[in-house]
């Protein structure tokens, strides 16, 4: 029997990409996507269920669909345009419900994959230049995003203790850049304006979006338990990110950075997630040896991720506009998936 996989956040970038990747895997029998809105990418065979943000319905879904794997991509890892309360609801309460459903007595779930972030390490002057998975964070927890991620991983740790027979994989991703993903950094780079803190040029890492999906798929497919850092090899100075992407640096005051940058944020000139401010000062590096030792091959280095973004951006600039937007039509999708009129396998 093939695997039955539930993907959360189907309407988000990662959920959509992950579902697409799973569809191409013949060992996956059924894919169920959970989202608060409609899917934004075309999907062949993924079933879509609408749920509220905290996934209170999840317990029932898991019971009736008998999924054996949950891929939890619906964790917010940047705080732009989202309130602290909402972050808490989505990240902490959502994960809480998800783990409760996965660990319910008689549950069919055998693996849980969580897409976390390296923001969990914080960034401070006292940090080592490379965080290993077990390195403690030094920075005091100042942002809601970081505290929610810390809570999420604490929930996951408890879950592991309570359910020792399950495979639990936690991937902590560095900041992502790539051909399609839209993040506050990519928005800045598209406008050729990268905010920085005057006098600081920290070393940062990036991971390319393909490597994000591939690594999630890798641990899911190989059923590898454990916590892993995921980031492209090497580090590069913040200023070099701008120079590769052809952007200019927009220096912010090194003192009272947050409040003095407020006017620029209000007028929409720059976007700086509050959890990035310490990274823009001290940088952050994570040691990715553990995932590489487990057998994962990266396609992109940190600088390569920036280059990948830049090339896609150059293309966008040259041909203008973006890809035609996909619209989810419930009836059409239902027809293709379930109508007896459709001869299965005729399209490929």
């Amino acid at each position: 029997m093939g695997r039955r996989v539930l993907v959360t956040g189907l309407d988000t970038f990662w959920g959509g990409r992950m579902a697409q990747a799973l569809e191409a895997d013949p060992s996956v029998e059924m894919i169920l996507g959970l989202g608060t809105g409609e899917p934004r990418v075309p999907l062949e065979r993924t079933e879509f269920v609408r749920a509220d943000q905290t996934y209170s319905i999840l317990n029932r879904i898991v019971r009736v669909t008998q999924v054996d794997t949950i891929v939890h991509t619906f964790l917010k890892t940047n705080s732009v345009g989202i309130s602290g309360r909402m972050l808490h609801e989505i990240n902490v309460i959502g994960t809480l419900n998800l783990l409760a459903a996965a660990g319910a007595p008689g549950s069919s779930v055998r693996q849980v994959v969580v897409k976390s972030s390296t923001h969990i390490y914080g960034a401070s002057e006292k940090d080592p230049m490379w965080f290993r998975e077990e390195t403690r964070r030094n920075a005091p927890v100042r942002t809601r995003l970081e505290s929610s991620l810390i809570e999420v991983e604490a929930l996951v740790r408890d879950f592991i203790v309570d359910n020792p027979h399950l495979v639990v994989s936690v991937l902590r991703f560095a900041n992502v850049l790539g051909t399609d993903i839209v993040t506050p950094i990519s928005i800045g780079l598209r406008r050729r304006l990268l905010p920085c803190i005057a006098g600081f040029d920290p070393l940062v890492q990036f991971v390319e979006e393909d490597d994000v999906v591939r690594s999630l798929e890798f641990v899911t497919h190989q059923r590898i338990p454990g916590t892993f850092n995921v980031a492209g090899a090497g580090k590069l100075p913040w200023s070099e990110v701008a120079s590769i992407a052809g952007a200019r640096l927009f220096p912010l005051s090194p003192i009272s950075t947050h409040s003095l940058a407020a006017p620029f944020r209000w007028v929409g000139l720059i976007q700086v997630p509050v959890e990035m401010e310490s990274v823009m000062r001290f940088g952050r590096g994570v040691d990715t040896t553990r995932l590489i030792d487990a057998g994962f091959n990266y396609r992109y280095t940190s600088a390569g991720a920036v280059e990948s973004f830049t090339r896609a951006n150059n293309l966008r600039r040259a041909v203008g506009g973006s890809d035609p937007a996909y619209r989810y039509e419930q009836d059409v999708e239902q027809f293709f998936r379930h109508s007896p009129a459709v001869v299965r396998g005729s399209e490929s």
């Binding site: 060992s27 080592p128 490379w130 399950l166 070393l203 338990p225 090497g234 590069l236």
Partner: protein, 300 residues
């Protein structure tokens, strides 16, 4: 392929057994783009050091090294030309003049990079922190030291006295402070590299501290705020950067190797403290010897 974390292996436990590998599907290779050429534009390494910027600072600093401090080395051949080693030295002068001189000398004579490990305080200062990192400085964190010395076999320089060395007043000159908690010995043991002590004479007099303003340091969030003789001679601004033209002498002591198994999480605390104390005592004795031989602060 499995990396069972301690205490939880996927195949043990109750319920359905998880197969260790699944029906094999060949990894899909449908990557649309060819591998990208390396897009790096600068030569900044993973520690933040840039050989390019370092060579510029070396060129700027060389006249100071040659004609101002007239640095003289003794036993430079004891520093290995390849492989990791942890150099430790006494630290002095309000804004220490010893670190750049030692790093400059070794890079010039041996042609290999030196990483100076110092208090993480530097990282918080705009511009200074960046420049410090680009010229080979990095925060003294045990993880950094291990990776640098063990994994990469580089040369690192630490000042075990920490800020207690440069913050001492002129009346305490050439009296070594406590060597921290012996962390440098533990790092060298773990990394399996020798410790090479270097005795420095001259740095103390290059910027002697008359007194410290502790209240001001606290307000400015600095480790210490020195008032130096240089402030009175060169004025309060120039005095923060201008050193007296003292004669600087470095004497490299015999490398100390520890006969322990590298890579352990912990080492006997008493052994670590003993070794640290021995190195400290040897360095202190050497300093006394060098001072006995010295005829003049300015001419050596």
């Amino acid at each position: 392929m499995h990396r069972p974390d301690a205490g939880r292996s996927p195949s043990v436990g109750t319920g359905t057994r998880v197969p260790s590998t699944l029906p094999v599907v060949a990894p899909r290779e449908e990557h649309p783009h060819p591998p990208l050429p390396d897009p790096r534009r600068s030569d900044v390494d993973e520690w933040g050091r840039s050989e390019h910027i370092r060579s510029i600072t070396r060129r700027l600093y060389d006249p100071l090294y040659k004609y101002w401090f007239r640095v003289e080395w003794e036993g430079l051949e004891k520093i290995p030309t390849h492989g990791g080693a942890l150099m430790v030295a006494n630290h002095a002068g309000a804004i220490p003049s010893d670190a750049p001189a030692i790093m400059h000398g070794i890079e010039k004579e041996l042609g290999r990079p030196v990483y100076g490990m110092a208090d993480y305080f530097f990282r918080t200062v705009p511009l200074v922190g960046t420049l410090w990192a680009r010229t080979g400085g990095l925060p003294a964190h045990p993880d950094n030291a291990y990776r640098l010395l063990h994994d990469q076999g580089q040369l690192a320089l630490v000042f075990p006295e920490g800020t207690k060395g440069p913050s001492k007043t002129y009346s305490d000159r050439y009296r070594l402070r406590r060597f921290g908690r012996g962390g440098f010995v533990e790092i060298a043991m773990r990394a399996g590299v020798p410790v090479i002590p270097i005795a420095v004479v001259g740095a103390e007099e290059s910027m002697p501290i008359l007194f410290r303003m502790n209240g001001l340091a606290k307000t400015l969030n600095l480790p210490y705020f020195p008032v130096t003789a240089n402030d009175f001679v060169f004025g309060p601004i120039l005095g923060k950067v201008a050193y007296f033209p003292v004669k600087m002498k470095f004497r490299v002591l015999d490398p100390v190797s520890f006969d322990v198994e590298p890579g352990l999480e912990r080492y006997s605390k008493s052994r670590v403290m003993d070794e640290a104390e021995q190195i400290r005592a040897k360095l202190q004795d050497t300093l006394h010897d060098m001072l006995r031989e010295r005829r003049s602060v300015w001419f050596g």
